[in-house]
């Protein structure tokens, strides 16, 4: 088990009050595992992703622990976390297109970055260039400015940079959403190859797009309204999901590449509840076709069968 998250709670401070964006998450990612993290926008995916590496100004750590390769990450202490960022945990951000300083040559920027982390650019350069070849870029991109690269090139470049320190955990956030379908595939495959080359030990792939996960993820974790809904191997989630919400997500699969953020979820009225004052009990209750009395109480996230977790009274079969 390379990553173990236990009852992690991270809220957003707003003038109106705390938004419970991540309200108790417990799961793990094994070595070599690529875990997909799926859910509607605003369900807390990104919050989870960010909280594992850097809490921004408005995020507040409430409770829970994150253990990476046997060491607890001090995620509540930004200064302490610095030592783990990039080295142990790294990110390929959503905004990869604009992640590189527009006024620095890429090579120069990378060297300044790694040197600032106490790594000699000179020593790491050969490996850096090897990986540039690997993602199919010309080595001289290091002498270019970001503006000189196409979207896909930037995307790949950022992936190389983010993984240069061979982190134990790589978090990728919606990296494909801005790309056309063919490039999406390429990027997805690159991710897998990174794992296979051992540039990263395990990966958390945050995305809207189930189809991508279907291609590359070993397991999929589905979130809804700040809580974990279901986790299992990709086959299980796609084949026989237990949680009604998961079913809906999966139902959108055939139309490859279409993100259901774009289209209304079939047949289900309303949207996710406000996380400012989330409802008691099962948070999916309001939209759930199968909702019944028991759902007044909050369903636990339990292992219904080996390697298959779900938070639904129906799923756990205890509906008597």
């Amino acid at each position: 088990m390379s990553l173990q998250v236990t009852d992690l709670r991270v809220y957003y401070r707003t003038l109106a009050g705390d938004v419970k964006a991540l309200d108790g998450a417990t799961f793990g990612i094994a070595d070599k595992e690529i875990m997909g993290l799926a859910g509607e926008s605003g369900c807390g995916k990104s919050t989870l992703g960010n909280s594992l590496i850097r809490l921004d100004g408005r995020m507040k750590y409430v409770a829970g622990s994150v253990n990476l390769d046997g060491t607890d990450l001090p995620i509540w202490d930004s200064d302490e976390m610095v030592h783990y960022r990039y080295m142990e945990v790294s990110v390929v951000p959503q905004y990869a297109m604009s992640a590189m300083n527009p006024t620095r040559k890429i090579g120069k920027m990378v060297s300044e970055l790694v040197e600032s982390r106490g790594v000699s650019y000179k020593e790491i350069r050969p490996e850096f260039e090897r990986r540039i070849d690997l993602v199919g870029l010309r080595r001289d991109v290091t002498d270019r400015y970001p503006i000189e690269l196409s979207g896909g090139m930037k995307q790949r470049m950022v992936m190389v940079i983010s993984t240069l320190m061979d982190p134990s955990l790589l978090i990728t956030d919606e990296i494909t959403s801005a790309l056309d379908v063919s490039t999406q595939r390429a990027v997805a495959e690159t991710l897998v190859s990174f794992r296979d080359h051992g540039f990263v030990k395990s990966m958390m792939v945050i995305t809207h797009d189930m189809s991508i996960l279907y291609q590359i993820a070993d397991s999929i974790l589905v979130m809804y309204a700040g809580k974990l809904a279901e986790k299992a191997t990709t086959e299980v989630i796609i084949g026989r999901p237990l949680h009604p919400y998961t079913r809906m997500l999966v139902s959108s699969l055939p139309e490859v590449g279409v993100r259901y953020a774009d289209k209304k979820l079939t047949g289900i009225p309303g949207g996710p509840p406000s996380l400012l004052h989330p409802p008691t009990g099962c948070r999916f209750r309001a939209r759930c076709p199968l909702a019944f009395a028991k759902c007044e109480q909050e369903p636990p996230f339990v292992e219904v069968e080996p390697g298959h977790w779900a938070a639904c009274w129906k799923a756990t079969g205890s509906d008597a």
């Binding site: 590496i53 850097r54 921004d56 976390m81 610095v82 030592h83 783990y84 960022r85 990039y86 080295m87 790294s90 990110v91 951000p93 905004y95 604009s98 992640a99 590189m100 300083n101 527009p102 006024t103 620095r104 040559k105 300044e112 970055l113 600032s116 982390r117 001289d140 002498d143 270019r144 400015y145 503006i147 000189e148 950022v158 940079i161 983010s162």
Partner: protein, 335 residues
């Protein structure tokens, strides 16, 4: 690449020269458009002389200023003599060459403008950047910036001159150098020169400083919120590096600002020089306005136009050097 650059600057130069031509022509029209007869005004200032003497004097001035030629000829002469750096003769100076009068004043103006602009730009930007990271500065000193930049130049100048020169006698009240001195290469003269320079400089500096500081402070905050900053932070880069990048990028728009500033600041310059009767161009403009000397005005404005265009062109060049984005877009990203 090379000829791309050449084409880029070529186009710039063309635009600038057309702009110059238009502006200069408008400028030339000023004295011709003005109602009244400058010579008549000049003569009428010499009261008590006999009508015959007045006649003789006016004839003398008419052919001195070459006003007894048809307009088209005057226009051609204007461009012709312009090439020889000849801007005609000043009414205010009773026939002294405008070029000489301008050249006599320009150094004072530059001696005020260049340090005031560059120093305020430098100090303002550094301070703004500082304020952007130090909360207490942001909430204490920065408000001063707003007050300063909202102060009319002449008002600040008047307050300074009243307090520091008139009441407390720390600095001289007016003039370019002591009325008790003649220009010599002596320490005495030099210090006196500087003493007279300080207050006008200060009034320009302070107002501009406020503007730069605020501008920079805001730009920096935007840069610190930008994606590349976040990416660096996520990868655990130290604040020093993040700020280095943010400052560098925030600087770029400030350079454009500098270009516009260089031209427009003449306004502040004008009133400041008037307050301290500092013998620069602004003071000359005022004198020209007061004595309706439109030849002198025409000359000064022409000079300003050129100055502004040159300044803008320099900034264009600087920008190409400092901002890779411009450079790249110019060279079309070929590699």
């Amino acid at each position: 690449m090379g000829d791309r650059v050449r084409r880029y600057f070529g186009r710039k130069l063309l635009t600038y020269s057309i702009t110059f031509f238009v502006a200069a022509t408008i400028d030339w029209l000023i004295p011709r458009f003005m109602p009244g007869d400058p010579v008549a005004s000049l003569v009428s200032r010499t009261n008590g002389i006999s009508p015959d003497a007045a006649k003789a004097l006016s004839d003398y001035y008419y052919n001195l200023f070459g006003l007894n030629q048809p307009l088209p000829v005057q226009y051609l002469n204007f461009w012709g003599s312009l090439l020889h750096g000849n801007l005609g003769l000043s009414v205010y100076g009773h026939g002294a060459p405008v070029t000489d009068m301008i050249m006599g004043a320009v150094p004072y103006t530059l001696a005020l403008l260049i340090p005031a602009i560059l120093l305020s730009w430098w100090a303002g930007n550094s301070f703004g950047a500082l304020a952007a990271r130090r909360r207490w500065l942001d909430s204490t000193v920065l408000p001063m910036g707003y007050i300063l930049t909202a102060t009319p130049y002449m008002w600040l100048a008047l307050v300074l001159s009243f307090l520091l020169a008139f009441s407390w006698r720390i600095f001289p009240l007016s003039g370019g150098y002591g009325f008790n001195l003649e220009p010599t290469l002596t320490w005495l003269f030099f210090t006196d020169l500087v003493a007279h320079w300080v207050l006008p400089f200060l009034s320009l500096f302070l107002v501009m400083f406020g503007g730069w500081a605020i501008g920079m402070r805001n730009m920096i905050i935007y840069e610190l919120e930008s994606d590349y900053s976040r990416y660096l932070e996520v990868l655990g880069a130290p604040q020093s590096l993040v700020r280095k990048y943010a400052f560098r990028n925030a600087m770029l728009p400030q350079i454009t600002g500098l270009a516009l500033q260089l031209g427009v600041i003449i306004g502040g310059q004008l009133v400041t020089e008037i307050v301290f009767s500092y013998p620069g161009l602004g003071h000359l403009v005022f004198a020209a306005i007061q004595s309706a000397d439109y030849f002198l005005l025409q000359g000064i404005f022409l000079f300003i136009i050129v100055g502004v265009l040159v300044a803008n062109f320099i900034v264009d060049i600087v920008y190409v050097i400092v901002d890779p984005r411009v450079r790249v877009s110019m060279t079309g990203g070929t590699a």
